[in-house]
């Protein structure tokens, strides 16, 4: 029992540390890729090619003055970033980084837990994360914040549905809700081949869910100044920021898990393949940000309800037919 606890503790620390490192460095990736796409250099001064930039940003975040507006709802204002980062971090629990390995005669699984309802847990907790945005924007007593919060709420609700529909067809193919089981069922053929439409839907809805550009309605810089986090400063802002990039990492690992075969891959060990695929998805997130203009708000709603949800339902029907005809 003690041995189990110690192993679990070490695993938790490693997962937390590695994830925080990835979160910090995805800001570096973002700035670097955006810079290169715009024919600039991006960060170059702090460390080799700006590699220490995330540390400098972190120190800056701690040093900044903390401002709580007078007409803010203080308890909610304080608790909102905590909800946001808490939900993001609790999603890290079920991500399968790799298969079981044997170290010093003990079998160690390279994931924290394997919930039977893993993907359901993801959908549930990521919705709680949007409460962070909504409460934060609502409580800050600012009109931009409030409109950002309204948009965050509407967008999250609209895009949860097609995302869940895309996930359902994956679950139908794999026959399990557990993320580890889904990865194991992809040993031969990745789900992206079996479910191309679901993959497409999941990417679009995921981008909307993590508030990235084409769908960054809640924090549209040009329209809403900064959206729901406009009144936040110092470490509270940094928490929102970390939650956003943590969601990006989780989105990358979910796409990897559900569609790109998780840790499966030739030659290299499992976790290496997992991180290669995850970083490819993160790169895609930044790449499309540098390319696509933002959707108008009504167009976002229209795309969600009139195109993505019917497409998701159609995909489920097609998957069902396919499974009946080929008797899988």
């Amino acid at each position: 029992m003690i041995e189990f606890t110690i192993i679990l503790l070490i695993k938790t620390l490693v997962v937390f540390g590695v994830s925080m490192l990835i979160v910090a460095y995805s800001t570096w990736i973002e700035r670097k890729v955006l810079g290169l796409v715009q024919l600039r250099h991006g960060p170059m001064r702090v460390g080799w090619h700006g590699l220490l930039q995330p540390l400098a940003d972190g120190v800056k975040g701690f040093m900044k003055e903390e401002v709580i507006p007078d007409n803010a709802d203080k308890p909610v204002f304080v608790i909102a970033p905590i909800i946001s980062i808490g939900a993001a971090l609790s999603l890290l629990v079920i991500i399968p980084f790799g298969d079981t390995v044997t170290i010093m005669g003990r079998e160690i699984t390279l994931y924290l837990t394997d919930l039977d309802i893993g993907i359901l847990y993801v959908l549930a907790i990521s919705t709680i994360g949007s409460y962070g945005c909504m409460l934060g924007g609502w409580s800050s007593g600012n009109k931009y914040g409030m409109i950002g919060a309204l948009r965050a709420g509407a967008q999250m609700i609209s895009y949860e549905l097609p995302m869940a529909l895309a996930v359902i067809s994956v679950v139908m193919v794999c026959g399990t809700l557990s993320l580890v089981g889904i990865v194991q069922s992809q040993a031969g053929l990745w789900n992206i081949v079996k479910q191309p439409l679901a993959f497409f839907l999941f990417i679009i809805c995921g981008l909307a869910e993590i508030n990235r550009t084409p769908f960054d309605m809640p924090e549209a810089e040009a329209e809403l100044a900064c959206g729901f986090n406009v009144e936040y400063s110092s470490m509270k802002f940094a928490l929102f920021f970390m939650a956003e990039y943590c969601h990006m990492f989780i989105f990358g690992s979910l796409v990897t898990t559900l569609f790109l075969g998780g840790w499966h891959g030739p030659l290299l060990p499992g976790p290496v393949w997992f991180f290669i695929k995850t970083f490819a998805v993160i790169f895609f997130c930044v790449w499309e940000r540098s390319t696509f203009p933002r959707y108008r708000y009504d167009q976002v709603m229209e795309l969600g309800w009139k195109i993505l949800i019917p497409a998701g339902l159609l995909n489920i029907v097609l998957t069902g037919l396919w499974m009946v005809i080929f008797n899988i």
């Binding site: 810079g35 796409v37 024919l39 250099h41 790449w287 390319t291 696509f292």
Partner: protein, 159 residues
């Protein structure tokens, strides 16, 4: 009755709804090409844009072999200077040697036209390629003889 179309057509080239998928992928290809391209910005203090040989930057008062100023304080440069940025106080020794006691160029007033260089009969003043002098006060931009002798030390290195 004949049906007339009263709706003015604003633009015939506007793509219909749902017809924007191909442009999206074109955009992705374009940004990816830029990503692998070479940045056009330069890392300024360490890396510098190439400037022309005839560049007119900060002034230098030349010295001869003995380390004395070539200038004889004739005042031609001060006379020809369009914004009147040059102030010269001459000094004459008993033997007849004449040199400037004070030679002040106000680098804020100066328009870097290079007339002083052309007017000088003794080839005593020239414009160097140094262009990045920074300071905090207006008085610091009034260069005296000491500063005018070595403009190279004002090249900004980022340190």
């Amino acid at each position: 009755m004949e049906k007339k179309d009263y709706v003015m057509k604003v633009s015939g080239r506007r793509p219909e709804k749902g017809n924007y998928l191909v442009p999206l992928f074109k955009g992705l290809a374009y940004t990816l090409k830029n990503y692998f391209g070479k940045p056009i910005t330069i890392q300024y203090p360490t890396e510098r844009r190439k400037i022309a040989d005839r560049w007119r930057g900060l002034h230098r008062l030349k010295v001869d072999d003995q380390g004395k100023l070539k200038c004889v304080a004739c005042g031609l440069c001060a006379k020809i200077c369009p914004p009147q940025a040059i102030t010269i106080v001459p000094y004459e020794e008993e033997g007849g040697t004449r040199y400037p006691k004070e030679f002040i160029i106000d680098e804020i007033r100066c328009i870097f036209c290079g007339f002083c260089q052309q007017a000088c009969p003794k080839d005593a003043i020239e414009l160097t390629k140094v262009y990045d002098y920074v300071d905090y006060h207006r008085e610091d931009f009034k260069f005296d003889i000491e500063k005018l002798k070595t403009p190279e030390k004002f090249i900004f290195t980022g340190k």
